[in-house]
Amino acid sequence: MFETAVLVETLVKAVIVVAVVAGMAGFATFIERKVLAFMQRRLGPMNVGPYGLLQLAADGIKLFTKEDIVPQNAVKPIFMIAPVIAATTAFVAMAAVPYFPEFTLFGYVIHPIISDINVALLYVMGVASVGIYGPLLAGMSSANKWSLLGAARAVIQMLSFEVVTGLSVLAPIMMIGSLSLIDINDYQVGGITHWLIWKQPLAFILFAMAGFMETNRAPFDTIEFEAEVVAGYATEYSGMRWGLFFIGEYANMITISVLVSILFMGGYNSLWFIPGAVMMLIKVSFWVFLFLWVRAAWPHIRPDQLMWVCWKVLMPLAVVNILITGFVLI
C-alpha cells in the first residue's frame, strides 16, 4: 500500500515537473525575445495575441506541422534519436532537484522533489553531461560537414567545462559534507549572510561560467553559432526534432538556474518576510534574465579560446580554491 502511494506521488510529481518545465521552457523563448528586444530598442513579437503572448502557440504549431526531413545519407536511427536524448536528459536531470520548500496540501506533506537521493548533485551533473550526446550524435549522423564541425565543438566544449563544473562544486561540498541538494539548501538557512556565495565566491563564479557553457548560451555558444557553423549540429534538423533540441536547451537553462540558486544563493530558504517558494522563483528568474542579458551584451568566444579559458584559467583557479578550502577546514 505504502509503495503504491509513493509510486503514484512520484509519477504525479514527474508529470507535473515535466509539464511545468516544458511550459516554462517555451515561455522562456518568449521572454528571451522580449528581453532581447527591449535591450535592442525594438518590441519583439507583437502581432500574435496581446503583446505577442500567443507567439508561443504559433511557434508550437509551426514546429509540429513542419515536415520532418531526414537527409538521404544520414544514419537514420541515430539521427532520429539524438534530439530525444537531448530533451530527455534535460528533464531527467530535474528528478533530484528540489524546487520549493515542503508544504501541506489536503493533509499530505508534499516534498517538491521527485526523488531525494543522497548523491543528487553528482546525479544532476552526470545526467546533464550525458545530454551532450544529443548534439554529438546529431552532428555525427547528419552527413553534413557543418554538423560534424558542430559535433566536434560539442565534444571539446564538454571536455572543457565538465572539469571546471566538477572541481568548482567540490569546495562547497567539502564544507557541507553532503551531495544532497536538500542538505545543501538547509546548510544555508538564516538569511543572506549565510549564503554560500559569500563563503565560496570563486566557486560561484566558476560554476556560473561553466553553467553558461553547459547550456550553450552566449558567450560560449560555439556549437551552434550560426555565423560560423551555420546551425552546428542542428543544421539538418527541422520541425519538432529541432524543437526538441530547443526545449532541451531551455530546460537545461532552467535547471542550471535552479542549481545555482540552491548551491550558492540560499536555495528556497525564506528571507525576511518573503516565503521560500517566492525567493526561489525570484532567483531563478534573475538567473534566466542574466542568461539573456549576457547574450545581448557580449560577443562570443572562439572554441580554442574556450578551451584556453577552461584548462588554463578556470581549472587552476578551481584547484586552488579546493586547496584553500581544505586548509581552512583543517
Binding site: R42, L149, A152, A227, P299
Partner: protein, 408 residues
Amino acid sequence: MQKVNRLKPFFENIAFEREDNHMIVNFGPQHPSAHGQLRLILELDGEKVSKATPDIGYLHRGMEKMAENMIYNEFLPTTDRMDYIAATANNYGFALSVEKLIGLEVPRRAKVIRMMLLELNRISSHLFWLATHALDVGAMTIFLYTFREREYTLDLIEDYCGARLTHSSVRIGGVPLDLPKGWIDGLNKFINHLPLDIADYEGLLDQNRIWKMRLEDVGIVTPEQAQSWGCSGPMLRGSGIAWDIRKEEPYELYDEVEFDVPVSTTCDSYGRYKLHMEEMRQSVRILKQLIPMYEETSPEIMAHAPQYISAPKEQIMTQNYSLMQHFVLVTQGMRPPVGEVYVATESPKGELGFYINSQGDPYPYRLKLRAPSFFHTALLQEILVGEYLADVVAIIGNANIVFGEIDR
C-alpha cells in the same frame, strides 16, 4: 530499387577520406556569414584553415559589358547596384569620370551637395560594416544599435532624392535637385548626435574582453601584403599606410575642408575597427564644414554645357533650341570626345576606379570598373591560412567586402 542519379559536387569530399584528416568545406554561397555570395573553399585541418580559395561570380551581372550598350546617362543607375551599401559613391565615381572625359566643370553648390551625400554614404556604409561585423563575432545588440543611426542617414538621403538604397542622386554634370527645405537642419541634428552614438558603440566594444580577444592579432595584413595585393581604403590604412585619395588626389572640394586620415599601425582587425570608428568621426567633421560652405554658394546645380548636358527644365519648356538639344541628348546620348580616362575616388571601401575608353560614340567603347572589395577578397586566400574557422568569419566581416561590386 531505382538508383538515384545524384549530382556530384565539384569539390567532393575526397580529401576527408585521406589519412591527414583534412576536410574541405564550402563556406558559402549559402552560408549565413558569406556576406552576399562569397564562396570560400576552405581546407580545414580540424578547425584550422590550411588552404582558402575564394570563388566569386555568383552575383555577376556583366555590368562592364552592359555599359558598352548603354548611353552614359543610362548607365548611371546601373552603378547603384555595385556597392549597394553606399550607392552614391559609385554614382559619383562614374559621373566624375565622365565629367573628366568631357572636361566639365561642376558648379560649386553641386560639389558641396555631392560631398555631403558622399560623406553620408561613408557613414552609412561604416555603420553597416560595424553592424554586420559585430553580428558575425556574436555581438548582436550592436547590430540593431547601429541600424538606427544608419536609418537616419538613409532618411536624410531619402529626403534628398527619394531613394534609400539605389540613390542615383548624382548626375553627370552636377546634381538634379537642390537640398530641400529643412534638410540642413536635419543633417545638423544628425551629425551633432552621431559622435555620441559612436561613443556608445565604443563603450560596448572597445574594452570588451571578448571583442578584443576575437579581434586583436587576428587577420594581420602586413604593409607589404597590403601593397602587393592592391588593398585600398581602410584595409590599406589599417596596415599603417596613410593613403587616402581624398588627400592624395583631391577631387571636389576635399582640398578645402580639413580632415585627418586615420591610420592604424597594429595591422590587425582591432586596429581596423578603431580606424572605421575614427573615419566616421572625420566624416562628421567634414560634414560640419560643408554646411557653412553650402550657404555661401550660388544656387546653380548643373553644369552649363549644352553639347553634353540638357538645359534646365524651364529653359527646355520655353526655348526651342534647348528642347531640340534635350531631345538629341535623350534619344542619342551625349558624345564625349575620343579619349580615355581613369578616375579613382575614395569610396567607403577603398579605391573605386572607373576607366572609360571613348571613341566619340554615345556608347563607351570600353568601361572598366575597379572595385576595392575585389582585391580584398583576393587577399583572403593569403591571410586566412592558419587561422581558425571562427576567425575566418571575423576576417571576412572585417574586410568589408560587398558582393555587388566584386561581381559587378
